[in-house]
Symmetry: C2
Subunit: 444 residues, 2 copies
């Protein structure tokens, strides 16, 4: 029960004493948290009702210069010992990784009856329910505003701001690296590999970028948003995930010619058919607010049955925005304004079936790279006809350097299974030079 | 002190019992609150941790059909008696008006040690500090999410979501009627009076629209946003307010030709010079998110020193969105997640000086309607030169039906006092047919 949770916490920590924070992980975000608390100290104390003080830190490398003075804080080599320290009221985990030391620290901290703050989407996506249950049992807070969309207070927006609504849909641009790459491709007309290499050179993309570009990071975040939006248990495994690595410059150009921008969208939806979650590159019409989310920005749209469409946009990653979200959680804890991690007790979260994608209806963008010979267009359009897919517009572009031709089309609204059927009919065709590209159109 | 506040409330209301709500005012929003609580009852109970039940209502006209069954609730003719009722845990005020019965009810409810929820921006703008102090003394919540930007959780976004940041600027499109009128003028090329008449016919504007179109309503909301953003006392009286009634179709067309849209913007800023607050129609570049806020939507932008630019958009008025915000406040109260009304105790709010507008630097749009005769352009440009205003672009349009000519210009960045000086130099000139139009350009 919520009241017990909070009452226990309130007895343990005196509300006029400083909130003593231990920080595990001193990468970009960890250093940002130290800087933020230093720089905004006086204002934070006024807003939190008491000082927030870092008392202990832990990281792998003690000698590295992080641009902040760490000599004031107790240094702990083994982060997991922070949980048991009598001088620590709350632990902030910025180590990362869904398992390993981060998870051990989470379990130990909550197990010791202390509130726990994290920016770790992978851990919340995979172990959030277990940790939320432990937090409930121990009557302490589990907070993770920084795990989704960086500095945008979207966890709070869904958990509290939109709490009066039955939410039907949530859409998000949740990965800044992908959005940066797609925006650069759009602005420069470059191909994916070229922009990715440049992003890696600039430090905007990891050396191993697959977590980002294959949509896994966005899927972690989507699973958390869906839980808050729909009052359902976090369900990462049922998410259909498609990344952006197969998008070519021509896809973005054709989409633009048709009045769309390509964005990697995390989409959660709850209906009588169940919970549907998908991360995929979409064609977003210019009239939709997500079309105007450019560069490394993140954004979230939620549709509530009374509030209508809510839209939140801001910086989704980096030192400052992520530190802002972490410290917002600490201020909530200092104020005593905390409750169940997923807005309701874990036992109250619904566990709906997964809604089948094939039942969904919408428009789709299809692009085929084909051999330049007679009959290919007829073969493709016949497959569409036989599968019951009706074509709204189609364009064929001249021969490329490799001798291939590009055919791009947008379908009329129809069931997704029909489009899948059409692509099945074409699978293995000698006319196709490469796998066709399918992107759904965001008409909602 | 925050802790005492909350502790007292927690002792009084058992957290496992329903939260018993009295509703004063059964207009559009009041009826919406009844509908929302009926329709989303089960979900609200899961999220709030206990049922939220309306137990008593009050309105002027008992017989009016409001599309909801009110026979279940106790009817009270005099709303102010709700405060004293032993069956009521919290009072929701949707009566309106900055003084009168709404204020009496607020004082009586808080004075009786009960939490108070309101959508009344005028009352919070004028009496918010007094009420917040009373709430602190009595240890109960004063909540007003619905008072600003309707369904957008922007009070929460600033009070909690961005709480870790020193916020330098806040900008808002805060009046849906004005934004609807400006968007219609933009899309149809119509003049102000024509669109206003149509908006009144459709019920989008009041019979007496001055509160909206002269910027007073937006100023009420801005004073509240500024307080939360900057940690300053609500200061309505120092707001410079200009409405939209002097904007003509040509202003919007010239702005569009230059790459801008015209929006009524509430702008708050805090710096070493003090607090600056202004409501005025601005030219917003298409690259700014506020340029894409169309129709009756509202939006708020805040700049924090760590989070960067946050952007919130949604429906700012009407039955559903406003009810959504009112019930979000009730859920916070049911959860016990409440604290000081303006994010910190009233005694902690700063009272900075008012920053003088003349010191501000920026670009400006100026439009003159002038007689069609030689020398007029020379007279205007000479005044600009003499005042030290440098012109970035200028256009003169041919003769209108009334024989007048339109001159529109955009200045280079410069002090506002120079533009004011130029206009002073031209005041009373026989060449001018009507007062010149000045709009600032939102380059931030």
């Amino acid at each position: 029960m919520l009241p017990r949770t909070r009452a226990v916490f309130r007895e343990r920590v005196s509300m006029s004493q400083p909130l003593r924070v231990a920080l595990a992980g001193l990468g970009t975000v960890g250093a940002g948290v130290v800087k933020l608390i230093d720089e905004n100290r006086a204002l934070i104390e006024r807003r939190a009702g008491r000082p927030i003080e870092i008392v202990a830190v832990s990281a792998r490398d003690r000698s590295r210069d992080r641009g902040v003075d760490l000599s004031r804080f107790a240094w702990v080599d083994d982060a997991t010992t922070l949980a048991a320290s009598g001088d620590v009221d709350v632990v902030v985990e910025l180590v990362g990784g869904s398992d390993g030391p981060a998870l051990t620290l989470a379990r130990d901290t909550l197990g010791a009856g202390k509130p726990f703050v994290t920016a770790n989407k992978a851990m919340i996506a995979h172990h959030g329910l277990e940790l939320a249950e432990l937090a409930e049992q121990k009557g302490v807070a589990l907070k993770y505003e920084a795990a989704v969309a960086g500095g945008i207070p979207v966890i709070k927006g869904l958990r509290e701001g939109a709490a009066a609504n039955v939410i039907s849909h949530v859409f998000g641009i949740l990965n800044g690296t992908c959005n940066y790459i797609l925006t650069e491709m759009e602005e420069k007309g470059s191909d994916f590999a070229e922009v990715l290499a440049e992003a890696q050179r600039l430090g905007y993309a990891e050396a191993d970028p697959s977590f980002d570009i294959d949509g896994i990071d966005a899927a972690h975040k989507l699973s958390i948003l869906s839980s808050l939006a729909f009052g359902t248990a976090v369900d990462f495994d049922s998410i259909e995930v498609t990344g952006i690595r197969h998008i070519i410059a021509a896809d973005i150009a054709e989409a633009a010619a048709l009045g769309f921008r390509v964005r990697l969208v995390g989409h959660g939806e709850e209906s009588a058919k169940g919970l549907f979650q998908r991360v995929h590159p979409c064609l977003v019409p210019l009239s939709h607010p997500l079309a105007h989310v450019s560069g490394s920005l993140n954004a979230v749209v939620a549709h509530g049955n009374f509030v209508g469409r809510l839209f939140f946009q801001g910086r989704g990653a980096g030192e400052g925005p992520t530190a802002s979200a972490v410290v917002a959680d600490l201020i909530d804890i200092a104020r005593g304004e905390t409750g169940p991690a997923f807005a309701m007790p874990v036992a109250a979260l619904a566990k709906p079936a997964t809604a089948p994608a094939g039942d969904r209806r919408g428009r789709a963008y299809l692009r085929f790279t084909v051999a330049d010979r007679p009959g290919v267009l007829a073969e493709i359009t016949a497959a569409m006809r036989d599968a019951g897919v009706s074509i709204e517009s189609l364009i064929q572009r001249g021969v490329a350097d490799d001798g291939n031709v590009l055919i791009a089309m947008v379908t009329h609204v129809g069931p997704e299974r029909a489009v899948a059927d059409a692509l099945d009919r074409l699978a293995g065709s000698q006319s196709l030079a490469g796998t066709p590209m399918l992107m759904h159109i965001l008409d909602e």
